[in-house]
Structure formats: C-alpha cells, structure tokens
C-alpha cells in the first residue's frame, strides 16, 4: 500500500482459544490520519485494536497470527518486546482509568517515571496538559488526587498520560462511551488536534462520531473487515451492501 503508511496490518487473525475473533484482516493507516473502526458490538473492534499494541495476548488462551508493521517493523516478529511496542503505540481505554493513588501530576508523568525516563518533567507536564486542554482546569491543583476530577476530565487526563510518553500511534477504544455529550464533544475536538502529532486508530459505536473525526473508516462484521476506505465514501457510497445496511441503521 501507500509508502507513507505508519501502520500496516497484514493477514491478522486473533484467537480466543479456538474461536477466531479477528479473521484475516489487512489494512493500512497513513501517518497523521484518524482511522475509525465501526461495527456492531461483538464484531471484534476492541480485539482488533488490542492486537495493535499486543495487549490482546495479556488475556489467557489468546493467540495472534499475521503481522502488524509500524514503519515497516513487525510487532509480532520474534524477539520483539511488547513493552517497547507499547511505548510507541499508546492506548486510551473505554472508561477513564486514572491511577487512584496518584495525583494529577503523577498520573501524567506515570509513564515517564515508571519507565525511568529522565527529562524536563515540568515542561512535559504543562505541554501535555495544554495539548489535552486540561491545563487551565487543573493547573492550580496538580497535586490533588486524580480521582476528584470529573469523568470527562479523567478521560482527558488518561489521554495526556498516554501522549506524555510520546508515542507515534494512539489507539482509542470507545474513549467517549462513558462520558456525557459535552465531555464527548471536547474529546472529539481533542482528537482533531492530536491528529497533527499522532496517527490515531479509534473504535467507536457511534457513527456520527466516526463521520466527524475520522479520515478513513473500517467496517468490521463478525471478525471480518467488510469494507475499508475514506470515511466520506463509506458513509455515502458504500460498495458492500452490508456496510450500507449498517451505516443506514438497518441493523446493529
């Protein structure tokens, strides 16, 4: 595919025991774009992105075949350490999962500190919080417990925590599904800005959201990639009838 693709997935199949949750998926994501993954629940969206930073294998009894290339390097090649992958491919989860024992400051810097990365932590802190539009809201209470933030703030803090370690790719698993509409709008706005610096893959069950934030869209059904293309085309002139059924709300 394109020479500039940041992330390339080739013939990826992911297993839970004997059932394949993802079946032979191939696609690529150009740098500085947002790819939205859509599909009915249980179609393997979450499993798919958990394969992109090797979080899938943390569940007992799982197995992955195929390859995922980041700038041409295979994450699944022998001898590759998943820990290093995860520093280059960050992840934001469905529900905000701030570390409850840590302050706001410690949460943002957690990745750096726990990995023993030195540097100008103070400026990284401010810069990251500014990029996630949290700085003005929290700058006076950086040492308070992160648990005291609102749900939307917590999720933006999780995004800040993920980008503080300077990943190249950011995976988001329905990051706004547990949030209210206003907080969701802020997250969507944020994703548009983060696109400048990162390549983003986002799972969403909300088709409006996919249209608003993504450049490309991939539609998954029962573990298979049904259709993948520019978002506009997927939602206006889908090639596969099943995609059309889904995006027009006939099922799912």
């Amino acid at each position: 595919m394109s020479e500039r693709s940041k992330l390339e997935v080739r013939h990826l199949t992911a297993w839970f025991g004997k059932t394949a949750a993802i079946k032979d998926v191939s696609l690529s994501v150009p740098a500085h774009t947002v790819l939205a993954i859509i599909g009915p629940s249980g179609c393997g969206k979450s499993t798919f992105i958990r394969c992109l930073n090797r979080m899938h294998e943390l569940t007992a009894g799982t197995r992955v075949e195929g390859s995922v290339l980041i700038e041409g390097e295979d994450l699944y090649a022998r001898g590759v350490d998943p820990v290093f992958i995860r520093r280059r491919v960050g992840m934001v989860f469905q529900r905000p999962n701030v570390f409850p024992t840590m302050s706001i400051r410690e949460n943002v810097l957690a990745g750096l500190r726990l990995n023993g990365v030195r540097g100008d932590h103070a400026s990284i802190l401010e810069d990251t919080l500014r990029r996630t539009a949290l700085w003005d809201e929290v700058k006076d209470r950086l040492d308070e417990s992160a648990v005291r933030l609102s749900g939307g703030q917590q999720q933006r803090l999780c995004i800040a925590r993920a980008i503080a370690v300077e990943p190249e790719v950011l995976l988001m698993d329905e990051p706004a599904s547990a949030l209210d509409p206003i907080a969701t709008a802020r997250i969507e706005e944020l994703i548009g800005e983060l696109k400048q610096g990162y390549t983003i893959v986002i799972v969403t069950h909300n088709m409006q959201q996919a249209v608003r934030i993504s450049d490309d869209t991939a539609f998954f059904y029962l573990g298979e990639l049904v259709e993948h293309g520019p978002t506009k085309q997927i939602f206006t002139t889908p090639r596969v009838p099943r995609t059309e059924d889904y995006v027009t709300g006939k099922f799912g």
């Binding site: 930073n53 995860r86 960050g90 570390f99 648990v147 370690v165």
Partner: protein
C-alpha cells in the same frame, strides 16, 4: 393447605427465634466487655501499666514488663511475618493461577486453621531446643508463622480487588509487568493491605498458647531476643488461674489493657478500611 393465619404465626415465630439467637450471641459479649471494664478499670493506674509485677505474697506491682514484652515480640514477629506474608500474597495474586499457586493457596488456607499451640511446639523445636533457652525470638517465630498464611490470603484478596483497567493502563504505557505490579497494582491495594497487617498484629498480640513454652515468662524487664520474655496474655493466664484475689484483680486489669490494645488496632484498621470505602474506587 395450612391456613393463612398459622402460616403467619410460623413466620412470626421464626423471626422471633432468629432475633433470640442474635440476643444469645450479644449478651455474653456485653457481659465480657462490661465485666472487663468494671473489674479492670479500678486496678489500672500508671503504676500498674509501668511497674514490674510484685513478688508472690506482696500486693501492688504491675504489668509494665509484660506490655513491653508483648509489643517487643509482636514487633519482632512482624519484622519477618509481614514481608513474607505480603510477599506470598503478591505471589498468589500475580502468579497464583498455575498448579504451584493453587498448592500454595490451599496450604495457606489450611495453615490458617492449624492450632496455635502446635505452632508453639514447632517454634520450640526449631529455636528453643538448639538455643537451650526459652526466648523472645522463639515466641516471635511462633507468632510470625501464625501471621503469614492469613496475611497472604488477605493480601491476595486486596490485590485482586484492584481493577484490571489500572493494570492495563500501566502496561499500555509501556511499563514492564514487574513495575506495574509494584508501582501501580500494589500501591493501589496498599490501604487494604495495611488494614490486614493491623488486624494480624492485633491477633498476634492476643495469642497466649504459642508463647507458653517459647517465650515462657519473665518477672523482669527484657528486650533481648535471646532471653525469656513476659507477655500480657501469659501474665493474664497466670494471674487468672492463681488462688489469690489480688491477682484475679490484676488479671482483669491486664485483660482490660490487652482489650484496649487489640481494640485500638482493630478500630484503626476499620477506620482505614472505612475511609477507603467512602472515597470509593476510581
């Protein structure tokens, strides 16, 4: 078919019966607490809490050395029992799903029920026999052995309460598994583990049987690990089975002291646990 009325009567009767059972459990508790306070409060004084016991036949004296001995031995026991117990608990929570983990868990559960007097014999065989001397160390070893299995199970439970989401958040940042375990998971569970430690210390302070022939007793102050040492519980026992009224009075007073110590530890543990509940998980 029984009549509606008799069915309701049975229901009422059984409810009353269950209420009676509750009363049956609580009356002795009230009696114990009330009598320990009533009989003990009169004899407690600064002298009682700080002085050495009076020789047989003389009145007065106190349990200062016994309080110090209990604190000393529980401290020594904690030094070894707390790290090992927590460590075993972390093992069970983090790597306890294999056959080895299941064996260790089963052993910890079963060890939790081994009578403390048996553990006393073990500490005697391990430490008193080779040292040819009863000692605080032997007493502390027995208490540590009793601490480890309960602490291991409690620690495991606390760690398993930490949401997977936190562990995943840390791993997704590229933090190695061991760092994640220590800096995120264990740190989050720490409040609960501290509670479990306090409860284990309270239990250890209340043990008598494993000290009878390990630490034995001592009429004087002792803070040397290789010497026989007095403890509050053994002192209560000796006073209680004596024929002297004066000593009986001392037994009550020492029991009040012990209950206050144990109660304080329990209440602190509860208060810590309660505070955590209110703040709630993330």
């Amino acid at each position: 078919m029984k009549s509606q009325r008799s069915r309701r009567a049975v229901d009422l009767f059984m409810t009353a019966l269950c209420g009676t059972c509750t009363a049956l459990a609580l009356i002795p508790l009230a009696s114990i607490l009330w009598l320990v306070v009533r009989n003990g409060a009169g004899a407690i004084s600064l002298t009682f809490l700080t002085a050495l016991p009076a020789p047989v036949g003389e009145t007065g004296g106190g349990v200062g050395n016994a309080i110090a001995g209990t604190l000393f031995m529980v401290g020594l026991a904690a030094l070894c029992g707390v790290p090992l117990g927590i460590g075993a608990g972390v093992f069970l929570a983090e790597r306890g799903d294999g056959p080895l983990g299941r064996t260790v868990r089963f052993c910890a559960e079963v060890l939790g029920g081994v009578p403390s007097i048996v553990v006393g014999i073990v500490a005697w065989g391990l430490i008193v026999v080779p040292m040819h001397r009863f000692s605080a160390l032997a007493g502390a070893a027995a208490l540590a052995i009793l601490m480890i299995p309960t602490l291991a199970r409690a620690t495991e439970e606390m760690i398993r309460l930490v949401p997977t989401a936190l562990r995943e958040a840390s791993l997704a940042l590229g933090v190695p598994a061991w760092r994640t375990s220590l800096s995120v998971v264990l740190r989050t569970a720490l409040g609960g583990i501290v509670t479990a430690v306090l409860l284990a210390l309270a239990r250890a302070a209340g043990e008598t049987a494993p000290l009878l022939f390990t630490a034995l007793n001592n009429q004087y102050w002792n803070l040397r690990p290789d010497q026989p040492t007095s403890s509050l519980t053994v002192q209560i026992y000796n006073y209680a089975i004596s024929p002297y009224d004066d000593w009986h009075q001392k037994a009550w007073a020492a029991a009040l002291t012990l209950l206050l110590m144990v109660g304080l530890l329990n209440l602190t543990a509860r208060w810590l646990a309660g505070g955590r509940m209110q703040r709630g998980p993330a």
